[in-house]
């Protein structure tokens, strides 16, 4: 989804993730899902399936206990 002509992007740091699945349960528009592959700690991290649907509501960022996921409106050449 685009908000005021700007694209929303979801970032996942998969090495920080512990696979609790709270972000997947909390997302109202079904952007995220748990992946099949595992990270170096052996947890299944979230991946973005439907990137178009993200509303930038910030719920996944708010509830993630491991500071691993966030969404921002994309700016040119600036990460996060």
């Amino acid at each position: 989804m685009t908000i005021k002509g700007q694209k929303v992007e979801v970032f996942v740091l998969k090495e920080r993730c512990k696979g609790c699945g709270i972000c997947v349960a909390v997302c109202q528009t079904e952007v995220l899902a748990l992946s099949e592959e595992k990270n170096s700690l052996g947890y299944r991290h979230p991946v973005v399936i439907n990137a178009d649907r993200c509303l930038n509501c910030g719920l996944c960022e708010m509830f993630c206990p491991d500071f691993a996921i966030w969404a921002t409106i994309e700016k040119e050449g600036v990460l996060g």
Binding site: R16, C17, C20, Y43, E61, M62, F63, C64, P65, G80
Partner: protein, 268 residues
């Protein structure tokens, strides 16, 4: 205070809260789905909203799971053995009176070893914020029940006495801001942190945090999402409830909300 690890600079900031955290120490030490991470996140979101920088804060934490918070903060912080935590706060207040002192406490620091010590906070008229993270059990020593465990929950004989009432105790210490939230209400919790920064005196915020160990004895270990949903289903928001009615009992909904605010203008 031991030297911190590599501090956060502009190059290794990824997450919006990484400005306050040490970036080397990830992943964090807590269990998957623990509520402590959410509390830390919403506290620093409140700091951002109030334009509080790293040097305006001093954070003290105790022992156990909650004590690990001070280890990965990129700001003046220390973790103290239980029973000496108010002493430390008094020292810091004498040397840096301009700093906002925040205590992250758990059961052992607030109730068991350090409980008696909190009379000092009233005498000295400290300007501190106490965030009491309550997971209803001694998590690191497995199934041990403690004064806030509801009836017949974890130990084999059960906890026979009525669970302790934290907001009532906070009022008797002389608090001027009392609230209670769970991590599933993270937005409300952040709003309470913002309000408590402008309150003078002691402010106590209790957070009922989900814990992995809590259900281990009853044979059903819930997964993190179910555990968060448990606190969502068994709690209800009520504001300005009489403080004597706030103890946590079994087969009753946990009342969460804001209960005391000396800054409040009476509407009614």
């Amino acid at each position: 205070m031991a030297a911190k690890q590599k501090s956060s600079t502009l190059e290794n900031i990824f997450h919006p809260t990484d400005y306050f955290l040490v970036s080397d120490i990830f992943p964090t030490v807590w269990c998957p789905g623990c509520g402590i991470g959410t509390v830390v996140y919403s506290f620093f979101e409140a700091c951002k909203e109030k334009d509080i920088d790293r040097d305006d804060l001093y954070i003290i934490s105790g022992v156990g799971c909650t004590g690990k918070i001070a280890e990965f903060l990129c700001l003046p912080s220390c973790s103290v053995t239980d029973g000496h935590i108010i002493e430390k706060a008094v020292h810091i207040n004498e040397h840096h009176p301009e700093k906002k002192i925040v205590l992250f406490l758990n059961n052992a620091d607030f109730l068991i070893s350090g409980g008696k010590e909190f009379k000092k906070a009233r005498k000295k008229k400290l300007n501190i914020l106490i965030i009491y993270i309550n997971n209803l059990i001694y998590a690191l020593s497995r199934d041990q029940a403690f004064p806030l465990t509801p009836y017949m929950r974890t130990s084999t004989q059960g906890e026979f006495e009525i669970p302790f009432n934290i907001p009532y105790m906070a009022c008797s210490i002389g608090a001027s801001f009392v609230a209670r939230w769970t991590p599933i209400r993270a937005g409300w919790m952040k709003q309470s942190f913002v309000e408590s920064f402008s309150v003078k005196g002691l402010s106590v915020i209790e957070v009922l945090s989900p814990c992995l160990i809590y259900d281990a004895n009853s044979g059903r270990i819930l997964d993190p999402v179910e555990r968060m949903a448990f606190y969502n289903d068994n709690s209800e928001i009520q504001f300005w409830v009489p403080i004597k009615n706030l103890d946590i009992r079994r087969q009753k909904k946990i009342i969460i909300g804001k209960f005391l605010d000396k800054n409040r203008i009476n509407d009614d």
